[in-house]
């Protein structure tokens, strides 16, 4: 199939960083499982974007997904599905796992983390 926009440079990736796709998929999956309505999501996400937009002009890339992640974390905390302290602990456990795994090896959380 030929490139749909001749003259354009390389086609833009849908997700520029892997975590952009992961947080997107996480949100879509939770919505479809009925944990929240999409209208609730967009209302909350709009508020986060508006708040972040007061500090600087958002570029629609990393800025956008940072706002997305912050919204999801707050929503899951409010729903009682992911307490911030638990998320923080697992985040640190993942960081420690990356730092202690030899380069090239798959990274896993240690037992009990």
């Amino acid at each position: 199939m030929s490139d749909q926009t001749p003259g354009a440079k390389a086609p833009e990736p849908v997700f520029t960083l892997p975590w952009h796709g992961q947080v997107f998929a996480l949100t879509v999956s939770l919505n479809e499982a009925g944990h929240f309505a999409w209208s609730e999501w967009t209302a909350r996400f709009s508020q986060t974007l508006a708040r972040h937009g007061l500090e600087k002009e958002l570029d629609g890339g990393d800025d956008y997904f940072n706002a997305w992640l912050e919204t999801l974390e707050a929503l899951l905390a409010d729903l009682g599905e992911a307490a911030p302290a638990d998320v923080e602990r697992l985040r640190d456990a993942w960081e420690a796992a990356y730092l202690s795994t030899p380069h090239g090896d798959p990274v896993h959380l240690p037992e009990g983390a």
């Binding site: 796709g21 992961q22 999956s29 967009t42 993942w94």
Partner: protein, 207 residues
Amino acid sequence: MPHDHHDHDDPHALLPPDPALRVRALETLLARKGLIEPAALDEIIDTYQNRIGPRNGAQVVARAWSDPAFRAALLQDATPVVADLGFFGRQGEHVVAVENTPEVHNMVVCTLCSCYPWPLLGIPPAWYKSDAYRSRAVREPRKVLADFGVSLPEEIAVRVWDSTAEVRYLVIPRRPEGTEGMSVEDLAALVTRDSMIGTGLARAPTA
């Protein structure tokens, strides 16, 4: 980008940025609670990365250009019409088609976040999600169009549609001249993503 070059020997695995670690943490927590399936997440990413995109919307537009009955039905109530073509589901629950004419040019924005007809156009480009576009599209649409290289005669009115979680818009661009007798498939190749958002025009056929 894949980490396929190394300036030096990393003693440990490359540490992802902080947000990536936080996403990993959420995934781990929710998977342990049985709220998500990692394989289902990969499936969602693959769908939007590789399978759903503006080619879907382009087929709808080309069909509307070629088939007056289809066009009429699409403009009256697009949702069931595009669903018949297999384009339905997430963020396509209520689609409204708006047609460009010699009098009106339509342009779509989501001023609050980034609502967009995923089944027809895939995931929106970064500029659609940027503050610059979201704030300027309503205020100064002609200037925004000029930034996209589109200049319209003064007599064409620009109408801006603000998407919501409930309603998503698909712009039906004007059919380019010199395309009489072209097949639906060839016509679809002229329909760009931006032309279906209203920040571009359909391409002219190459002779």
